[in-house]
């Protein structure tokens, strides 16, 4: 029988009924749901949804953190031939209105009161929304359950389904059996850097094909342990903790809460792990901070063996064999530094780790390779069901994203844009034929919008977004290449810098905004007995500006060493008074900087940078977590940084 997600789940339940499928930490204890328990739960939920009137082809919104019952709800919807639509749980209410209305969603299964409040707020704009089921009913005691949309608990739905199973069970089973691989399996809304989000339509066949291709590439088995901690609405998390979970039959673990991920990671010890660069960065920052607190011996060992590890990893990447001295040193390092470090990070059992989403800083990448974590890069997007390129275990590099996975064809257009053809391509954007026509060609290619090139070893290299790469105009570096992300990444590698935004396209020089990392700089300030009252105050300290300048100048030195990028050195910078935030629209939900929007919003600051001003007053509207708005005002100082002449190639 050709597989669909539900039939795969049933197969696992039949073959290995008592093997764990999902684990969740609740009230301090990891609780297991076996495949047979999962099957029973899914069947009850499906019967409940059928009873409520969910029909084949309809959409069901699923909104929440990674929770076993929310994953079961996705399977339940698919059991009836309906389509789950995972939505970002951290989106503000207004952002949920468009997907709910455009996908004509009648039912939503949500995690908690927070999501219920948001949906009730936008309910008037989504007249088709009929009912909500909430996984965790805490705080909802006083809410009215009748009305439109009706509000029920997920327990109610399970109970409803169980009581209706005798009548509706056969109907559910028939619908499950009737599902075909080419049916639509899920609808993912992309975070959308511009305009309304677009719904990406994927079939069972496309998602499963990619899930299996990725699994075969890394020889994944049913023994893998995965920690699901990123938003389930993001296709990456969905592939790792849903598509590949069902394809391979491994265990998906749901953390206790968003705050406990680091602790849960250590307790679970995943074997297959994914983290976007920013999380790897945050982990490294925490290691760096802790190392600064460590004793002199520990710090010396750390510095000595980290250098050793980096050299070892670099040599391995070049395919060189290590001598016996190096091997001995490496074994010693593993015993004294790498092993304990992996353990402290929760990476002791990691066999395959991936990072993607953004370019990763070479130093950051090298750090994890150096301590013996098999960190690799992959390339893909929502439209391609993630797996386009993957790096082989023995050929992981910081500057490429790997080789095409089985089934993928790549092509680079004359303009430098990367095109992809694979069985994992989306069907199209939901009810948006114009947008679909823009990215899907008639002969089956998908336009990625990325500027890429394929090197001699067959690895794909992504330079930047095709539209973001710019050139300087005028000044000493006239016509030089300006790759904003490259510059920003250089700055972001410093623990003190959380975010950076570089400007320079069409200008005579590069200037930048810098966001300090509150945790790291706060710690640094405390260590120096530098008092501060909060973020704004700390960011405005002259001592902090000096610290940032040091980072900028070191980045400039590295940029100057690369003839092609010497022009991207930062001439002037300022330290922003507020953290760039997705709630204010400055970052996407996946936390990429929206450079254009930031340039508009802070136009006064950009002008001041280029006008040579020494300080500039600014008032910024901010949106708090509860949806209220306020004003943050500050007089920002603007600093100059030393720029070096480009290093000329001797040859």
């Amino acid at each position: 029988m050709t597989p669909t997600f539900v039939r795969l789940m049933i197969r696992h339940a039949e073959e290995r009924p008592h093997a764990p499928a999902l684990r969740e930490k609740a009230f301090g204890i990891w609780r297991t749901l076996t495949w047979s328990q999962l099957r029973a739960l899914v069947r009850a939920l499906a019967a409940g949804l059928a009873q409520a009137g969910l029909a084949r082809g309809q959409h069901v919104a699923v909104i929440g953190e990674n929770r076993p019952r929310l994953y079961a709800a996705m399977l339940a919807a698919q059991s009836l031939g309906a389509v789950p639509v995972p939505l970002y749980q951290d989106a503000v209410a207004a952002e949920l209105a468009f997907p709910l209305a455009s996908a004509e969603i009648p039912f939503a299964i949500v995690e908690d009161q927070e999501q219920v409040d948001k949906l009730l707020e936008i309910a008037p704009r989504c007249p088709l929304l009929r009912a909500l089921w909430v996984d965790n009913p805490r705080g909802l005691r006083r809410y009215e359950s009748e009305g439109r949309p009706a509000l029920r608990t997920l327990d109610d739905l399970v109970a409803l389904g169980e009581s209706a199973l005798t009548d509706l069970g056969p109907l559910v089973d028939a619908a499950t059996a009737a599902a075909r691989p080419e049916d639509v399996a899920a609808l993912f809304f992309t975070s959308g850097t511009t305009g309304e989000p677009k719904g990406v339509v994927h079939t069972h066949a496309a998602l499963l094909d990619r899930a299996l291709a990725g699994a075969a590439f890394d020889r994944l088995t049913s023994d893998e342990e995965v920690l699901a901690y990123l938003p389930p609405a993001w296709i990456g998390q969905n592939i790792f903790s849903y598509a590949q979970w069902l394809a391979c039959g491994y265990v998906v673990n749901c953390p206790e809460s968003a705050d406990t991920v680091a602790i849960d990671l250590k307790e679970i010890g995943p074997t297959y792990y994914f983290a976007p660069p920013r999380i790897l960065e945050a982990l490294l920052t925490s290691v760096t901070i802790r190392m600064e607190d460590a004793g002199r011996l520990q710090r010396a060992l750390y510095a000595r063996f980290l250098g050793q590890g980096r050299a070892w990893a670099a040599r391995r990447a070049r395919g060189e064999r290590a001598g016996w001295v190096d091997r001995l040193l490496h074994a010693l390092g593993d015993l004294l530094v790498y092993g304990p470090l992996r353990n402290a990070l929760g990476f002791s059992r990691v066999r395959v780790a991936y990072t993607a989403g953004e370019a990763i800083g070479p130093d950051l990448f090298a750090f994890y390779r150096a301590i013996g974590v098999n960190l690799k890069q992959l390339y893909g997007s929502t439209e391609t069901a993630v797996f386009v390129c993957l790096q082989p275990d023995d050929d992981a590099r910081a500057d490429t994203v790997g080789v095409p996975v089985a089934g993928v064809e790549l092509r680079i257009t004359e303009a430098g844009e990367l095109l992809v053809r694979s069985p994992g391509l989306m069907q199209g954007y939901w009810r948006n034929p114009e947008a679909t026509a823009e990215v899907l060609t008639n002969d089956g290619w998908y336009r990625t919008g990325d500027a890429g090139l394929i090197d001699t070893s067959g690895h794909l290299r992504i330079v930047d977004r095709a539209k973001d790469v710019g050139r300087l105009a005028g000044g000493p570096f006239d016509g030089a290449l300006f790759a904003p992300k490259y510059v920003e990444n250089k700055l972001k590698f410093f623990p003190a810098i959380k975010e950076a935004v570089a400007f320079g396209d069409g200008r005579d020089r590069v200037c930048a905004f810098v966001n300090i990392d509150f945790e790291a700089v706060g710690d640094w300030a405390e260590r120096r007995g530098l008092p501060y009252t909060g973020y704004v105050d700390l960011a405005g300290k002259p001592e902090v500006a000096a610290l940032v300048r040091e980072c900028v100048e070191r980045a400039n030195a590295e940029l100057a060493a690369d003839p092609a990028l010497a022009g991207s050195q930062i001439h002037r910078f300022l330290v922003l008074h507020k953290e760039l935030d997705a709630d204010d629209g400055e970052l996407t939900r996946t936390r990429k900087v929206r450079r254009r929007l930031i340039a508009q919003k802070y136009a006064v600051l950009v002008d001041a940078l280029y006008a040579g001003a020494t300080h500039q007053f600014i008032e910024t509207a901010v949106r708090f977590e509860d949806g209220r708005t306020g004003i943050v005002a500050a007089d920002l100082r603007i600093h100059d940084a030393t720029v070096r002449p480009a290093v000329r190639d001797a040859a």
């Binding site: 301090g28 805490r138 006083r142 809410y143 009215e144």
Partner: protein, 296 residues
């Protein structure tokens, strides 16, 4: 996760919930309960009558009388030195008033001792934190259950059957509180290493671990930033709502008091100058003069 306590609470009050019908922008109507949102206030559980407390010549409390009803949030406000903490300390059994009576569920609190009060279901948090700084959050909250531990020292020392079973049961109760107050990430962290706002939350957790019928909160929001205050408001309301705990609250932040409490007692220089629902108290001329200042 932050919610606006004011919105939640405001919506629960009938006056606001049954107000404008067509405010489509806010989900407010949805919060109203079918019975119009009236809170389920019960009988008087705590009655303070004619309480006088003096330290030598200093009269801290003069002839104070008020009551607390089951399930309500009762605020005690007043300027510095008004006698708020002294009053809480009388209820809690730390001080013995020279005159007057304090009745808890119809039973006179005769012998003043905190242990006696605690055994009768009165728990409290402190204005200046009184946590075990070197112990983990978990151990601090577990300490709140010590009055409920039945096994003897020997059994506990050797983790014998009954003691082990008891500890597991208590740990379960504590885990529910940890989950409720969202401090899972800090279970094993020594309290002294936590920021102040979180320490306040641990203090509340420990008081809750007693499963009190009356919870005395002495300035639970003192020294907190806006976000921490909002979180704390939500937790207090949730405690009141989910567990039905009666809460007596001392607080300086007027906004918090007005949003949270059902009835307010106002003290000034040891005398009770007003008692009533927040809106009435706010409008009381004497309160405005004494507490909020003239020309407010």
């Amino acid at each position: 996760m932050t919610l606006v306590a004011a919105t939640l609470r405001g919506a629960e009050q009938p006056a606001q919930a049954s107000g404008t019908e067509a405010s489509a922008d806010a989900p407010r109507e949805r919060f109203a309960t079918p019975d119009g949102g009236a809170r389920r206030l019960g009988d008087v559980v705590l009655a303070v009558e004619g309480v006088c407390l003096a330290f030598g010549g200093l009269k801290a409390l003069e002839d104070i009388a008020f009551d607390v009803r089951e399930h309500e949030v009762r605020a005690i406000i007043g300027p510095n030195g008004a006698g708020k903490s002294s009053l809480i300390n009388c209820i809690n059994g730390v001080y013995a008033p020279q005159h007057g009576t304090i009745t808890l569920r119809g039973e006179l609190l005769r012998r003043a001792s905190p242990r006696h009060a605690a055994a009768r279901g009165v728990a409290r948090t402190f204005q200046n934190l009184a946590l075990f700084q070197g112990m983990s959050v978990l151990d601090n909250v577990m300490a709140g259950r010590s009055l409920r531990m039945k096994s003897n020292l020997l059994q506990q020392a050797f983790r014998l059957g009954p003691a082990l079973r008891e500890e597991i049961a208590h740990r379960e109760a504590v885990e529910r509180i940890i989950d409720f107050l969202e401090i899972q990430a800090h279970r094993k962290t020594p309290v002294g290493r936590l920021p102040y706002g979180l320490q306040k939350r641990v203090d509340l957790a420990r008081a809750l671990a007693m499963e009190p019928t009356i919870l005395l909160l002495d300035e639970p929001m003192a020294g907190m930033n806006v976000e921490e205050k909002q979180d704390m408001c939500r937790f207090i309301l949730d405690v009141n709502d989910e567990f039905g705990t009666t809460i007596v609250l001392i607080e300086h932040d007027m906004g918090v008091v007005m949003d949270l409490s059902d009835r307010v007692v106002v003290l000034d220089h040891g005398r009770l100058i007003a008692d009533g629902p927040p809106d009435a108290v706010r409008a009381d001329p004497e309160v405005i003069r004494a507490y909020l200042g003239v020309g407010h």
